[in-house]
Symmetry: C2
Subunit: 302 residues, 2 copies
Amino acid sequence: MKLTILGCYAATPRSMTNPTAQVLELNGHMFLIDAGEGTQIQLRKNKIKFQRINHVFISHLHGDHFFGLIGLISTFSLLNRQSDLHVYGPKGIKEIILLQLRLSNSYTGYGLYFHELESKESEVVFEDERVIVRTIPLDHRVYTNGYLFESKPGDRKLRIGAIEDLGIDRCYYQKIKQGGNITLDDGTVVQNKDITYDPAPTESYAFCSDTYYSEAIVPIIKGVHALYHESTFLESEAHYTERTKHCTAKQAAAIAKLAEAEVLILGHYSTRYTDITAFKTEAEEVFDGTILNADDGVIFDL
Amino acid sequence: MKLTILGCYAATPRSMTNPTAQVLELNGHMFLIDAGEGTQIQLRKNKIKFQRINHVFISHLHGDHFFGLIGLISTFSLLNRQSDLHVYGPKGIKEIILLQLRLSNSYTGYGLYFHELESKESEVVFEDERVIVRTIPLDHRVYTNGYLFESKPGDRKLRIGAIEDLGIDRCYYQKIKQGGNITLDDGTVVQNKDITYDPAPTESYAFCSDTYYSEAIVPIIKGVHALYHESTFLESEAHYTERTKHCTAKQAAAIAKLAEAEVLILGHYSTRYTDITAFKTEAEEVFDGTILNADDGVIFDL
């Protein structure tokens, strides 16, 4: 599981700070999460093979989270993309994109599918044999979802030595990988756990931005491996959180603790702060796990 | 008259090249012409006091000329802008911007006025006591206008020595500046030209991008001081111009020659070229005046 931060600063893009966008690589997928203005430029700067992105997840329709989507969709067209692109986001995103494609007379040559969200309950929005993605309803000034990405367990791993000792034929290997017990010719039943190892552990990543402090999300993300949680403010500006519906680093840490996350990644910093290490320092007072400061261009191997 | 090139490359933004956007400072105005993705970042990088921009002129609704407009409009809101902003561009631009503001629940706190264009004839779109701006209908794949910016002549300048020798009272100075003749007490009529100098010469700038080769624009821009004319291709790729409705550098030079422009500024280069000096070389074969290569971040004092 690899996370590339393309941008993690709040509000407007600047010379040195980019609005929210990140790329999650998980079990063979490359997911784009949010797409602030300049996302396609950041993808190029970070040398990401962005034609591999087939799924884009937009949290909400504030400009710093989606103004870069139309540019990326257009560039895919100019690059003669063929494969389908799926966009998940709040109701309205389809109208915004299609209006611009229509007025510029530039419909895409590839399949462009919108999955518009309206539910206030967590729901599965994407699933295949490798990964499952659910929404995390957040509490912000407009309708907003975070996303929980989980890899699925692969096959169990064969204990070849034990299997050969028992004289089990190769034709049963697939059944064993899938967890089945085996009955030998003499009637003995061999338990699956005695001839396999557990599959590689699953991985999970929760993206939670933008949001007011909300313990309602804890049951959804309980036990998540890595949690990206917005921390727009430090404690000295905590009084802004209610009106703006954002969080402090300490609040992000409190959610990480309640959710028993292993890793907390802080981001969506207000551009009023010049030193982001203070976010980590404040979060450490609350959360004992690993705490990482997101920053533009940083790659986390999780 | 000062022109700052924020971006002058065709198609998609890249790490090192920006799509079309430029700032023209003329007779006290600061005009933004086109606004490709990343315009607000380029404004910051070039340290332009962009709150001074009150008028934005959009040539056409291809993404590389307007995808940065919504971000700029939103940023003006976040910066608590108070003064009106006027946007001139093809019909549809209002719907694009207002839809995004509505869905992000972020209407502007300042006056945002759209002047949508549909005419295929040149028309005056802005005029005050200092400047007049007209459209230049262009021939592109979608409805497109260039813009001609002209400063207006100021007052005539007094020849103080001659005026004092004639004993003309100060109360007539305003009348003289405005071109009036004076009748002396003895009935002699003093011609204005004998007691004034001509006002400072007017300045003019024509922005023509994107367009196929079109001599129809020549009468509109005849005698223009500085002409920015797109030159997407070199001669070796001239066969692309018809399908894409773009020009070569030589064609841009031919228009500059017919229009008797003093200065030709080349830009909107296809990103297939790594060396833009070749555009100037090819244009020089046709046009004898000054030829400038636009490039991102370059400032021309015209």
